[in-house]
Amino acid sequence: MTLPASEGTVEVLEALEGPTSFNMPPINPETQNSRTRKALSNGLLLVLGLLFLAPMVWLAFASLDSQATWSVEWPHFTLSNFQTVLSGTDLQALMNSLILAIVSTAIATVTGTLAAYAMSRRRIPWKGPLLLFVLFTSGVPLTILIVPLYQLFAIYGWLSIIPTAIFLAVTSLPFEIYLIKNFIDAVPEDLEEAARMEKANTFQILTRVVGPLALPGIAAAAIFGFVNAWGSFIVPLVLISPASQQPAPVAIYGFIGAANVRYGDIAAYSLIFCVPVFLLYAMSARLFREGFVLGGAVKG
């Protein structure tokens, strides 16, 4: 079967360059009309923002409540929830999550960048079908893979944190390849040719020219990979044997005992759990805002 032109696919996916430009420049010069429109936009936005914020209220309240329940109540103020979850095995679980997410992100981003570069720049037979295959794999539900994976992992004695991190890397790989490819596509080929004329090898081109220029895309892909690994629950639960290597999402289940549910701890832990992800975003936000640093590469 000849799959229809991948060209279209690629073009459409170029729209995924989204995160490059979190900066939205002001449109028109200020006019009376645009000022009222701005006020209206601001108002509407704040309302929408509140709606998006509303579900998070429980997290904040319950985490500070010594008698937290599912319902939102003004908290009986305490910090003990945070103290509890930031000690012992729960802290260890957070560390495990970090290891899991960092290893997974590193593997997915590095291998994804290499593959994306080849997909973007090189002549590869069946490139279109290959790209489509990569895309479809991202739609496979992980739950059906549990048994085959467990067998595979058990056979080779991989039931521990690092092999699991590698598997999680694979789950985010398809999307990462796509995202990074679209960014590399946008780097002018001239730059690479100039480097090639200078005798630069592929590795040098990747690390010094294409890599730095596609960095916003690579960062966006890395964040995707990080969130994917950081939040996964079933995969580590099934694939990691030693309890001491279990990550934070599994630890959250520790707060739901047979007899009681520690809502306050859950909320506090969930809040802490969101911090690294948010920090990562905040750190790379500048990168996104700068967008492509291609200014100066071309034209006068």
């Binding site: 032109a5 060209e7 279209g8 696919t9 459409v12 996916l13 729209a15 360059e17 989204g18 995160p19 430009s21 979190f22 939205m24 002001p26 449109i27 028109n28 701005k38 936009s41 601001n42 936005l45 929408l48 923002g49 509303a54 579900p55 998070m56 209220v57 599912w70 319902s71 939102v72 291998t111 290499l114 593959a115 570069y117 080849a118 090189r122 037979p125 489509l132 479809f136 794999t137 739609g139 496979v140 539900p141 059906i144 549990i146 048994v147 085959p148 994976l149 595979l152 590698i166 694979v170 789950t171 790989l173 969130v227 939040g231 959250i252 859950i266 969930s270 969101c274 992800v277 948010f278």
Partner: protein, 310 residues
């Protein structure tokens, strides 16, 4: 006369070309490409393709998680397919999935576009704060998002309190709607960012040109903005569809597919069959169906995409 052929330029005697064994000169395949692709594809094949293939095979066996057929299992042909064909629970699960996926797509598109277009003409601090909140919602791990939404939508939860109906249990009364909204909530941030980038790429002159022609706001949106956003929308639709179709964690945390089977969309039904009812094979078959649906979605998507580029 050679000279004249040359001057004529465009006309080249085909026989001469054949003599020189002309080929379309494509860039040649470089072996280093293989080195670049190998790490990613080796991982994909070993850890993804092989398990997926194995799972696909399992769909046609009688393997169970426990019990005698957990050990002595084998190929059972079309038996599971026959069962699937008459499984009303599966059918209702398909319908639930369709509602969940379509609802999520519509919601994400509307809110994503709305937010992105509002953000473009708002003051910086509002942009940072509201954009930040929406992005945090997007980045929140499913398990946390699920718990947050569970807490917010049960009786006594944030929404019940906000609406003054503190005893109403939105999640219990409209479970499918609530999990769909939760899913929209957790995916809008992505769409907002992508739409933002696309909107920024629409040259303002085009909009101004429309202004000059005195187009109404709606006309402007329908005739100018919408067609230009079509590729962006196609991309968002595909990704939201794929991510929603395979969404397990959020609903599992919120309702575990309940109450009853009210939110038992395909990934949950697959899990329920495989792990709660121990029917690994049947669960795998449902997973196969999902892969097929994802593939159909993908092909349709490529169709749309290529039609556009023509």
């Amino acid at each position: 006369m050679k000279a004249s052929t040359l001057v004529d330029g465009s006309v080249i005697d085909p026989s001469t070309i054949d003599l020189w064994r002309t080929r379309k000169d494509k860039e040649r395949f470089q072996w280093s490409s293989l080195a670049l692709l190998t790490p990613a594809f080796a991982l994909l094949i070993i850890l993804f393709l092989i398990p997926v293939g194995y799972a696909a095979y399992l769909g046609f066996t009688n393997l169970t998680l426990v019990g005698p057929t957990a050990v002595k299992w084998g190929y059972t042909g079309m038996a599971n397919l026959h069962r699937l064909n008459s499984d009303t629970e599966f059918r209702s699960s398909l319908v639930l999935s369709a509602f969940f996926v379509v609802g999520s797509i519509v919601g994400v598109l509307i809110f994503g576009y709305w937010l992105a277009s509002l953000l473009m003409r708002s003051t910086p601090w509002v942009r940072v704060v509201v954009g930040g909140v929406v992005v945090i919602a997007w980045m929140m791990p499913a398990i946390t998002a699920g718990m947050t939404w569970y807490a917010s939508t049960t009786a006594g939860g944030t929404f019940a309190t906000l609406t003054g109906l503190s005893n109403s249990d939105f999640l219990g009364s409209y479970p499918l709607l609530v999990v769909t909204i939760a899913n929209i909530w957790s995916q809008t941030g992505f769409a907002m960012l992508v739409f933002g980038a696309a909107l920024r790429n629409i040259p303002s002159e085009i909009l101004e040109a429309a202004d000059v022609e005195n187009a109404s706001r709606f006309q402007r949106f329908r005739l100018i903005v919408l067609p230009m956003l079509r590729p962006t929308m196609t991309a968002i639709v595909l990704l939201v569809a794929l991510l929603s179709l395979a969404n397990f964690s959020l609903i599992y945390v919120m309702t575990q597919g309940g109450p009853g089977n009210a939110t038992n969309i395909l990934p949950l039904y697959s899990y329920q069959q495989a792990f709660q009812f121990n029917n690994l094979a049947y669960g795998a078959l449902i997973g196969n169906v999902m892969v097929v649906i994802a593939a159909i979605f993908g092909v349709l998507y490529v169709r749309v995409a290529t039609r556009r580029s023509r």
